[in-house]
Symmetry: C2
Subunit: 441 residues, 2 copies
């Protein structure tokens, strides 16, 4: 026999579980992201949460590998996905002959990382991804469409101003090649990544430890000094003397990209070239993106991604280049909720509660409830037994904005008494007017 | 080093993974179910997939327990949810003070059962559940609302005629009590459950093995003979002589229920009282539901559920009665797809592909793409380099219904050339007419 008192009913730590009113806000963010992805022509993909462990292990390295929820069932080694990109790679490898390229897919789903528990970190969280995958090649123009999608999403999410930061890994790699410190580029990029956090002085100190020629260090900081609007940055980069083809290629890509981004309608104040953006090391090979909320820089990047040359090389020999982004929605939602940016309102989708004043008016009430639902209005019919006060109390506690009363009088006059729960105002309306009022809620 | 050739890229067996065109059909079914649940005022809940193993084990019995994906991570015993009801019970126990009752929630999510692999069985599958939970009591009227929701969903899913079968566990239990065979009711119900599959003769043989008085056996079959429209069944049940209070209570509930169901607008041909419907044994205590597709009885019940007295007794001492249903969507989708009931069409949400005829018309094209998206039309801009044939080929292979050409001529005339991909017809339209045409696709 199980001891009842011992079962903990809290969710596991690191697993977000919301109350209804919060859940509705979360869902509306998911809906906004999904709708935007679909409006840009991305098709939904919904891969299994469980994979053969070897599929994930082939792509996971270092920290990630330790975080994977892995286990045996029967004689199978299984693992829970830690991102949506590895399943995408497997899927495209498996279905290459059945897909149309460029393959544009979105995925919104839960992923799992058994991290050390700490505030603001989740072990189960939503990622909202898009990727465009080419078959052997993919035009740079696809890199430009991504910021226009990011722009559209964050404008629609309505959580304040944001800046899409763009860089190109070829520019960084080319610079280090040109400066003859290619073998140290990993370390240098890691140090540069901390620039915003620790400041220039600290970064300089760390780079000086690497024992480069003083001239090389100066060149790195000259490069990092390059700022301004995209046109200015491009023109400065063009004048920046690094005799390296990769660097030149990266600058050219940035130029094509920023020109297209502007033509696609992303305003200059919403994006910038930021030469310090690096995004990991192994995966991305060209354009990289980060997105910051201007009023909450401490949240860090809320939407990141980039261009990669080879999505599925681990599984097939065909080269599949791609470009994509990911929004870590659970963390973003959690942070915005804690900061009070998100407005949490009603605890139900219901817009109107139909309340019969006696048993005889049930059928009349059911009919109008049915019609309102048909017109797209979320409608509950009050089935609770008891006093009127109790019925109204239900609407009140859930913040349902309207109540419709039906009774003898309403039936004989063929009307409905609508009560605005905020103002307390009541009026009798016919079916058409009632539907019109409620349709606009 | 991993041997590349050895990694299998198929999904695990028992895990559904769809191609884009199929996924769109699946999603539209999910959307229909979600919208209907929300129109009836149910609020979304999204519990974690992982739970403390003890939370699930407390509720899982027999077969289910063996099927649970259970594992250790660090010092935690974890398990993947095998249904959406156990997490609901835990959630309501945890949040009772913060919820408004009756608490109406829906959940659409993946659940996991490591069953023996067999055709038509899934190890990861979607359940689409609603439950209404009362605090200590819940009026019988809520049992009547459930069929009206089932009716609304299956009408909207548009997959053919269906019948909602209703019974009441009290009628069955009362009958067996009244006949003095209460201690055998489990076995008798299990045999009756097979009636449709094996026929009356076989069932009679099995019941006779139980060595009841012949008069008792006759009474059971007299009872099972009761058929007809709901009014007729109720009237026959009322005349059926079993001197048992539970039986009488069950019949009374069925009468209240069917009267309300009709008033709620569910037509008589879409539901019936079926006295052979039993639905499991421990959990349900009153009304039970099953739903069959009339043209595909072999699929079995596609939406089942019932009334239970005690949702969360394993976790808290407060009594929380409820009523709910579940749609096993993955299996339903799979069966309907194989039978050709579902129409699989386009492999993208895109309704129109904007194709620039030269580089100079990019900006003009971006603008109309942006406006069309703003008007709710899923729009892609063709970014593929190469010949016109290749661009049109992309729309063709994805079944995108329309292409819009923009070039020198269109810019100077301020129009857009719309091509209907099915008829091949082309015409020049201004922005307003173009939006109107595409908005109706």
């Amino acid at each position: 026999m199980i001891n009842l008192n011992k079962i903990i009913t809290k969710p596991l730590s690191g697993f977000m579980e919301l109350l209804p009113a919060e859940q509705l806000v979360f869902n509306s963010m998911v809906d906004t992201i999904r709708e935007t992805y679909e409006k840009f022509g991305f098709v939904s993909m919904d891969n299994p949460v469980l994979e053969r462990a070897e599929v994930l292990m082939a792509k996971a390295g270092g920290e990630t590998e330790k975080q994977i929820y892995q286990f045996k069932k029967g004689d199978r080694d299984l693992a829970m996905r830690f991102d949506l990109t590895v399943p995408l790679a497997r899927y495209v490898a498996e279905n290459r002959g059945r897909l149309v390229f460029p393959f544009k897919r979105y995925a919104i789903g839960k992923v799992y990382r058994g991290e050390r528990a700490q505030a603001g970190r989740f072990r189960e969280f939503y990622q909202c991804d898009i990727d465009v995958i080419g078959d052997e090649k993919l035009d740079i123009a696809y890199d430009a469409e991504i910021p226009s999608i990011i722009y559209s999403i964050f404008k629609n999410l309505n959580i304040g101003d944001f800046t899409i930061r763009i860089n190109n890994r070829k520019v960084l790699s080319g610079l280090f090649e040109g400066l003859g410190i290619k073998d140290k580029s990993v370390e240098v990029i890691q140090v540069i990544d901390k620039l915003e956090k620790v400041g220039e002085k600290e970064v300089r100190k760390e780079i000086e430890k690497m024992k480069f020629e003083p001239a090389v260090v100066d060149r790195i900081f000259d490069f990092l000094q390059i700022k301004g609007d995209s046109e200015k940055v491009i023109s400065k980069l063009k004048k920046f003397e690094v005799s390296n083809l990769l660097f030149d290629e990266g600058v050219e890509e940035l130029e094509i990209l920023t020109d297209l981004i502007k033509k696609m309608g992303v305003p200059e104040e919403s994006f910038e070239i930021d030469l310090t953006v690096a995004r990991g090391l192994d995966y991305y090979t060209g354009t990289v993106y980060e997105t910051r909320l201007n009023d909450y820089p401490e949240i860090g990047s809320v939407c990141s991604g980039g261009r990669y040359d080879d999505l599925a090389g681990t599984y097939i020999s065909r080269q599949l280049p791609g470009v994509g982004i990911s929004i870590g929605l659970t963390r973003l939602f959690d942070q915005l909720l804690k900061k009070g940016v998100l407005k949490v309102g009603s605890a139900t989708p219901t817009k109107v509660l139909v309340v019969p004043t006696n048993k005889e008016s049930f059928e009349y009430g059911f009919k109008i409830a049915d019609k309102l639902r048909g017109a797209g209005v979320s409608t509950e019919f009050s089935l609770v037994e008891g006093k009127m006060k109790k019925k109204i109390g239900y609407a009140d506690r859930l913040n349902i904005p309207y109540v419709v009363f039906v009774g003898e009088e309403e039936i004989s006059e063929k009307v409905y008494t609508l009560k605005d729960m905020e103002t307390g105002e009541q009026k009798k309306l016919n079916e058409k007017d009632l539907t019109n009022v409620l349709n606009c809620v």
